[in-house]
Amino acid sequence: MNLEDIIKETKTYYCLECGKCTAVCPVSRYNSNFSPRLMLERALMGYRDELIHDRELFSCLACYACSKLCPSDVDYPVFTQKVRNLASGEGEHGDCAHSGTLHSLMKLMSRSDIRQRRLDWLDGCRTSEKSEVLYFVGCAPYFQPVFEDIEVSPVNIARNSIKILNALGIEPMVLPNERCCGHDLLWTGDVETFKKLAQLNAQMIKESGARKIVFSCPEGYRTFKIDYPQYVELDCELMHITELLAQNLATLSLRAKLSNPEVKRVTYQDPCRLGRHLGIYEPPREIIKAIPGIELTEMEHSGDESICCGTSAWTNCNSYSKDIRVERLLEAKATGAEVLVTSCPKCQIHFKCAMVDKSAQKGSDIEMKVMDIATLVTDALGGKSSE
């Protein structure tokens, strides 16, 4: 696909140059070299090389704050995704965080002959060999060793999500050789490897006979829901764990099972993939409100105005990303909440990282507990959460 096709497909030519995108962009606020409007203008004026070799091309978070405001409905994140694919063909790939370890892992998983041993954390969770419901774990087992030292435990999110399913009377299947959903590779321009991962996942899911897939990671959910249909066929109902829980709050006696936890005041960070990408704002809030004794306070920017956690796809994580996180953490602190609840493991990782990194300058100003909603609910269900 060349630049002209991308412009046509994403209707970039409707751009009015109003600049609302740049005004609302969390990256542009700190990084004056990055401007969505400028990127679009370059594309429209035919400055192809300037566009694809700009290192800021990989700074976009795909948080959709811009497109929500765009009067012409230009889909800037998808435009970026496609231009990145073009750029990756010419050797551009952004600055990979963690020296590209995580990207290499994803690429290794795209091999069909990999035999993973990724489920040794399942203790205390009931799963079954055959079930209508499949729980898509995501990359948690691989994030675990990398982020343990900043006190984030992604496998606990997975563990607690399965415990919630168990509490709902579901013993889900988990795939022993599940692959990365490919989100990060798709958004860094590696469509080829993304396709391989999608095909491998789709094939395994088909063979498993699952009818419904539950996610605890918003990125996986988005990727399956919006991106996979363009490449693979998958005839399954897809659900985020918060949607499933919110549905069952009314029908099941879950509400009665929830007990008063130790936390009193929480605030909620909308992950971009769950919020602006998929429009899921209410289910997590309904769940939090359903837990007796917990008060939900909203940050200055919440819902579709919420601010991204500052990095996407493990790319171009820099001081600007940290600034975005600090700003968001200050907002969270200003609500007076004790806990920042989120429903995305990456949000949690990014906020914790900022706290560790900026502790010398900001210290207790941004120090606060960050918790996944699955952990909050499992705590409320009887204090048997994995922490």
Binding site: L105, R111, D113, V146
Partner: protein, 141 residues
């Protein structure tokens, strides 16, 4: 044709690379399967390098540094030891056998030790077979 494993070797500049050099100048016989990349310190070897090697078609990765206590940068190799623990977890999750990655120590005077480590590792990886079982996998020389 029998399977010849491709092993990427990260050797530290100050001890292990000199050890390998000594083995060469002394004309010791050594398996030709290790492709050596010289790094300034074994502490320079990030987990990312090792995954990248496998991603690009290596069958094994050998990391050699100065003996603990001998590091030219005082404690670079201790950092490598700590990193390896993290790495082992991820490797086993990915289904990469433990014998495919080896961290060991070779000093500048230990040409014979270098040879024995390389020969031993080559045999172990040969026994495990190719890491790339896919026929459609891109081949990287």
């Amino acid at each position: 044709m029998s399977f010849e494993p491709k092993i990427v070797g990260f050797l530290c500049n100050w001890c292990s690379y000199r050890g390998a050099d000594l083995a060469g100048t002394a004309r010791m016989k050594c398996a030709p399967n290790v492709r050596i990349i010289r790094v300034m310190c074994s502490g320079r070897v990030e987990p990312a390098f090792i995954f990248k090697a496998f991603q690009l078609g290596a069958d094994g990765v050998l990391v050699l540094g100065c003996h603990p206590g001998d590091c030219h940068y005082a404690e670079g190799n201790y950092k490598t030891i700590r990193r390896m623990a993290l790495l082992e977890k991820m490797l086993s999750q990915l289904g990469i056998e433990a014998d495919r990655v080896r961290l060991d120590w070779v000093s500048a005077s230990e040409g014979d030790r270098f040879v024995s480590i390389v020969d031993d590792m080559t045999e172990k990886v040969r026994a495990l077979g190719s890491f790339t079982k896919d026929s459609d996998e891109e081949k990287h020389g």
